[in-house]
């Protein structure tokens, strides 16, 4: 029992391969009656097109790629990635495309893209975790590979970008703290070469009046260490705005360890609204983002780009929103 091919369908319907192909691609110029016969035959045989063969003749892969260059441990802790992928899949499966994942060590990222492009395994790619002066866009242009980026405002890109603006979220967090009376509001950021880390820091910097900045690496360990540095410094901040939830949660644990009560003596905000955020003690005030939506939009844009070739312009998405929980409180909590 081998899979039926288009030949079998043609034979069964008493027509040629070409005609069958026409019908199945909805081209005009085939008599109604013949069309019905062919469709019936295909149905009866349970025929489905071989995507391999189709791929070869139209030289399309019917798939898009995603290269992940983060370390596995960091990936595991980051809620962005699965949600984004789920969103991407949502659109892809509707359009009969699939997603090829490539996880590579950080220093082989470029090779990852080359591999996807060189073997024509995908028709386009997503570019995540954009960095300042990212070399990947030039690379992809050179490879003539359609791409869609998840970018931040004010960063020109030759590819369509899903424009995520983290600033309103950070600004809202800082303002919220200021309304609670905080003045020394610190920031624990991610690696400065990441666009999203840079823009979060920038938003904090412009909104806050005064407060120390520590660069960390988005990891729990990094967040803990940065927090330690802040708490031991001469002038302790009364609030810390973290660039993600993971660091914020680790930071709260450090504060506890130092005997500093959150939120009574130290207010803390995170970013991402991970599942755990609402279930730590105290529940974390954080910023909610919607990577699922970004994934859907990014996939839309990429497929349009691949198919139409004309889709341009960026895709705005709703700004991040502050979720106030229990880790922030007015200043002036009692010392113990």
């Amino acid at each position: 029992m081998t899979r039926p091919t288009i030949r079998d369908v043609a034979q069964a319907a008493g027509v040629s391969k070409g005609t069958v192909s026409f019908v199945l691609n909805g081209r005009p110029g085939v008599a109604e009656d013949t069309k019905r016969r062919i469709l019936a035959a295909a149905e009866a045989l349970g025929w489905t097109p071989s995507h391999q063969a189709r791929a070869l003749s139209v030289s399309r892969a019917f798939a898009v790629g995603l290269v992940l260059a983060r370390e596995p441990e960091l990936l595991g802790a980051d809620p962005f990635f699965p949600a984004f992928i789920a969103g991407v899949e949502r659109t892809l499966s509707d359009r009969g495309q699939s997603l090829v994942l490539q996880v590579v060590p950080e220093d082989e990222e470029e090779a990852g893209y080359r591999r996807l492009a060189g073997s024509k395994r995908v028709d386009g790619v997503f570019v995540l975790d954009l960095r300042v002066g990212d070399t990947r866009i030039a690379l992809l242009e050179e490879l003539a590979m359609p791409a869609v980026t998840i970018a931040r405002p004010d960063v020109p890109s030759s590819f369509p970008a899903v424009l995520v603006d983290d600033r309103p979220g950070i600004v809202a967090a800082v303002r919220h703290l200021q309304e609670l009376g905080h003045r020394r509001i610190a920031h624990v950021g991610g690696p400065a070469h990441f666009l999203h880390a840079a823009i979060r820091k920038d938003a904090w910097e412009r909104t806050t009046e005064d407060g120390p900045y520590v660069e960390a690496d988005f990891s729990a360990a990094g967040g803990a260490q940065a927090t330690r540095a802040l708490l031991e410094s001469g002038q302790r901040p009364t609030a810390i705005v973290y660039a993600n939830d993971l660091m914020a949660i680790a930071g709260m644990a450090v504060a506890q360890e130092y005997g500093i009560a959150v939120p009574a003596q130290l207010s803390v905000t995170g970013f991402d609204n991970t599942e755990l955020a609402g279930y730590v003690s105290p529940p974390l005030t954080t910023v909610r983002t919607d990577p699922y939506l970004w994934g859907r939009e990014a996939a839309q844009a990429l497929l349009d780009l691949i198919e139409g070739g004309d889709r341009h312009g960026d895709i705005p998405v709703p700004p991040a929103q502050l979720v106030v929980r229990g880790s922030t409180a007015p200043t002036g909590g009692t010392e113990r």
Copy 2:
């Protein structure tokens, strides 16, 4: 500037396509000299095989699939999945294969597998999150699709399985608690229809002398709720063994909320050793697993199965190990 094909290489080397193909697949029967000429020509032209064409002629997809039926939010919180994928990728990229991901709503899981199989997009699949009486193995047999499962001991499977044994980890956790003097040791498990949830519960049940069981759903919300139930029950346990870190961390927050000190009044253990586990307060005693390794092994087995067709037998992996941190302590902590 179009990509060079095997024809171009043949022409440049002054031989026929067939010969080139022979050389590039390392078949014997080609003179050393010719071989060199061909390789040189291929090199000079920068030729890489079109995987589409190859796929068509040998009817292989050179890819394996992974169907994920969990809800995106749960995926985000689970460290298993990215680490597993990273491990899979490690093996795959060495062998020139790629990974096709399919994320589907929970009720469309079967359709997901059918889609992958029907379009011949993949040569084999991984089966994760095995359930009791899982219908997927029958489905895959019907589809004649090679598969490798991540399974638990004592569950017969017609496919090779990476045999993960969670029991030693749970047993070690319970024993550790017993050595600290605990007798009423509760368990908060995952949904009972999941094999890994069932076996963890089973291991706890056999090792513990006495203690309540609450079924939850591996989510933070579920863990919190289960913990609430346990703490409000007449006979409070002095220790709780959770089936994953996420629930354990949420549980600790609930205890705190109730004014119950961890670990002084309540000891807690998790499972997974997520990144955050070591950076909450108190740091979580948990069980370390190695999904990265499982991914590597699973991919090995799957490729062997696809290529050789003869690979059988299960693949054992090192048992999970207890990581003792600060969330467990001797019983008899002072009431406040």
